[in-house]
């Protein structure tokens, strides 16, 4: 068997460097990453990269920053597997490999000019933050913005410092709820679904974008439909463990769709009858 070095490999990784690393909660760490040579990662909100740690492996991670901020991008990583645990040991200045971006992001052109209802549960706030920050940076292009967040406890709250700012913004309606409250928690307590009925929205011009664990979708979508938002105006981002990111390895396949190419963002109307999707 001969071995040839090839230039055009799909598995070529781009050298990058962690320029900032910050432990956000007990399990999540935020990384700011810059590609070598000041190259820009050309991505859309909602897309993901495959992080590469040589000798450890690769893991698909959604980008949590907005492309409006050039020069670097951010990944919010929960330590759950081999690669993500190894990532948590990285600090500013460490090397990291990047493939991508991959996948279909949020449909910004469709969302423009409409009211937006963002709903995120748990780690789902990470991919959604990419779109939220994009919308903030292009605030004129969108109508009303509602943000509903839910997490287990206030200690699990991601991007807590930013959330305080969202809360203060005049141009955003933001609410947050926790499943179990610490004594000093002044906000809502309960499932995220309890926040939805109280939101005042114009259903015909509102697009809902939901990101969270599978169990959350069923209940949240039910509440949103009860608000008369049409199915076509609901977008979700689904989680799968992509290995190749190029529609080959089969890991992320949902029936005839490849989450890595046809998603991870899907229109609810297109997948609602698809078993194994959620």
């Amino acid at each position: 068997m001969e071995k040839t070095i090839i230039k055009e490999s799909n598995y070529r990784i781009r050298n990058a460097r962690v320029i900032k690393a910050r432990q956000m909660t007990a399990h999540e760490k935020l990384f700011e990453i810059a590609l070598e040579g000041g190259e820009n990662l050309d991505y859309e909100p909602g897309q993901f990269v495959i992080v590469s740690l040589l000798g450890v492996g690769e893991a698909p991670i959604s980008i949590c920053s907005s492309p409006t901020k050039a020069g670097s991008f951010e990944l919010c990583v929960r330590a759950v597997g081999k690669v993500t645990n190894a990532m948590h040991r990285l600090e500013a200045g460490d090397d990291i490999g990047i493939r991508g971006p991959y996948g279909k992001g949020f449909p910004i052109r469709i969302l423009e000019g409409n009211d937006l209802l963002f709903i995120a549960g748990g780690l789902g706030v990470a991919p959604l933050r990419s779109l939220i920050k994009y919308a903030f940076d292009n605030r004129r292009d969108f109508g009303k913005i509602h943000i509903l967040l839910g997490c287990k406890t206030s200690e699990d709250m991601l991007f807590a410092d930013e959330l305080d700012q969202w809360f203060k913004r005049m141009d955003v309606h933001y609410e947050c709820t926790v499943d179990r409250a610490a004594p000093d928690w002044a906000g809502h307590v309960g499932q995220i679904t309890t926040l939805i009925p109280g939101v005042h929205l114009e259903s015909e011009r509102t697009f809902a974008v939901i990101v969270g664990p599978p169990i959350m979708y069923r209940f949240v979508i039910k509440e949103i439909l009860a608000k008369n938002i049409p199915e076509r105006q609901i977008f979700v981002s689904l989680e799968r463990h992509m290995k190749c990111g190029m529609g080959k390895c089969g890991r992320c396949q949902i029936q005839n769709l490849y989450c890595c190419q046809d998603g991870p963002v899907f229109n609810y109307a297109e997948i609602k009858n698809m078993k194994e999707a959620i």
């Binding site: 068997m1 001969e2 071995k3 040839t4 070095i5 090839i6 230039k7 055009e8 490999s9 799909n10 598995y11 070529r12 990784i13 050298n15 740690l53 040589l54 000798g55 450890v56 492996g57 690769e58 893991a59 929960r78 759950v80 597997g81 993500t84 090397d95 490999g97 664990p213 599978p214 989680e239 799968r240 463990h241 290995k243 190749c244 190029m246 529609g247 080959k248 390895c249 089969g250 890991r251 396949q253 949902i254 029936q255 005839n256 078993k275 194994e276």
Partner: protein
């Protein structure tokens, strides 16, 4: 020079000369009713009459394990993307396996193209070999029309008694014929014999499952909730044999391996299987095809339904390997028959004259 003939007496010489041109692999007997594509150098090693090999020739196109990158972390990040390849001729590939190669060619050729696969593929020459009759009761090649040649080879041999007739399909095939002097031009009588063999085959090979192939996707559209999948679940051992031996299964995992110096290493891809439980699992622990019924169903849909939308063909080649390899005797023809007998799945054509 579309058709040439090779006398059987010259077969040994043909194989020897072929093996001198470049590495040659052909079906070799591995004990009772087991065959494997292996390197050969003489004609007597080749099993001319063989049932589908344990592993299909996809192993030459997509090796069970192949290196994608080599790295050295001693000085920063030194990464070399590599492709492993070799010049090789495959002799004796049956039409079902030619169909299988055509399927994975499509998968790795659509964008984003897989350069590792495409570079390796260009180095492989293919000499097909016709099945004049069924290999065994597991085959369902007529159902998916892979019992007759339809391209995918450089040269294609058909046994016509004391000689082979060979269809020269490509320039590579022509080069083989010319560098191996044993071939003679085919006469009209040879072509007549080929024609009558094909006619005999048309009578011998019958639709192995009583459904019109064009109705299969529709049947699958209605079969997602069928009880048939539950029946399979009760028998399936989730061992992954069926996908390993399938000529069109190509799913893979990507794994890193570091050498003992802890600096150099490689990233490789390994065959994986949708039948194994962790395959569709995500980091949070959720598995999207937790039940064996869902995993078996996924396998069948990946042969008979999803590729029809994406590639306009079945990804089952009718080779019968999954049924032969199954320890729980899950049989593809039986499964299709069960779906056909599932009153809901087969509702639209239950009274059709099939």
């Amino acid at each position: 020079m579309e058709y040439v003939i090779l006398m059987k007496d010259d077969f040994g010489g043909f194989i020897s000369r072929l093996a001198k041109l470049q590495k040659l692999a052909a079906p070799v007997s591995k004990g009772y009713n087991n065959f494997s594509f292996q390197e050969v150098s003489s004609g007597d090693e080749v099993a001319l009459k063989y049932i589908p090999t344990i592993i299909p020739p996809k192993k030459f196109f997509m090796p069970r394990q192949e290196t994608l990158l080599e790295f050295n972390t001693a000085k920063g990040l030194e990464v070399k993307p590599v492709v492993e390849h070799e010049k090789i001729t495959l002799f004796g590939v049956h039409t079902c396996d030619l169909a299988g190669i055509q399927c994975i060619n499509m998968v790795f050729s659509i964008r984003p193209r897989d350069y590792n696969y495409l570079i390796r593929k260009r180095k492989i020459d293919i000499i097909g070999l016709e099945c004049n009759e069924y290999c065994d009761e597991y085959a369902s090649c007529c159902l998916v029309s892979s019992h007759l040649p339809s391209g995918g080879y450089d040269l294609f041999l058909t046994d016509l008694g004391d000689y082979f007739i060979a269809h020269v399909n490509t320039q590579v095939g022509e080069d083989i014929v010319e560098s191996i002097k044993y071939f003679k031009s085919a006469e009209a009588s040879n072509l007549e014999e080929l024609k009558s063999l094909r006619e005999r085959k048309r009578a011998l090979f019958k639709n192995e499952v009583p459904i019109e192939p064009r109705l299969i996707p529709e049947m699958f559209d209605r079969a997602f909730e069928s009880g048939v999948w539950k029946d399979l679940e009760e028998r399936c051992l989730a061992c992954g044999n069926c996908t390993n031996v399938c000529p069109t299964c190509y799913c893979f995992d990507i794994i890193d391996e570091t050498d003992m110096d802890l600096k150099t290493g490689r990233r490789y891809r390994n065959w994986d299987s949708c039948q194994l439980e962790p395959f569709a699992k995500v980091a949070g622990g959720e598995s999207f095809r937790k039940e064996r019924s869902a995993r078996q169903r996924h396998r069948y849909y990946r042969k008979f339904r999803y590729p029809v939308s994406k590639f306009a063909r079945f990804f089952c080649t009718g080779c019968g390997r999954c049924s032969r390899a199954c320890m729980a005797k899950i049989n593809l023809k039986e499964t299709l028959n069960s779906l056909l007998n599932d009153r809901y799945a087969s509702k639209p054509f239950i009274n059709d004259e099939i």
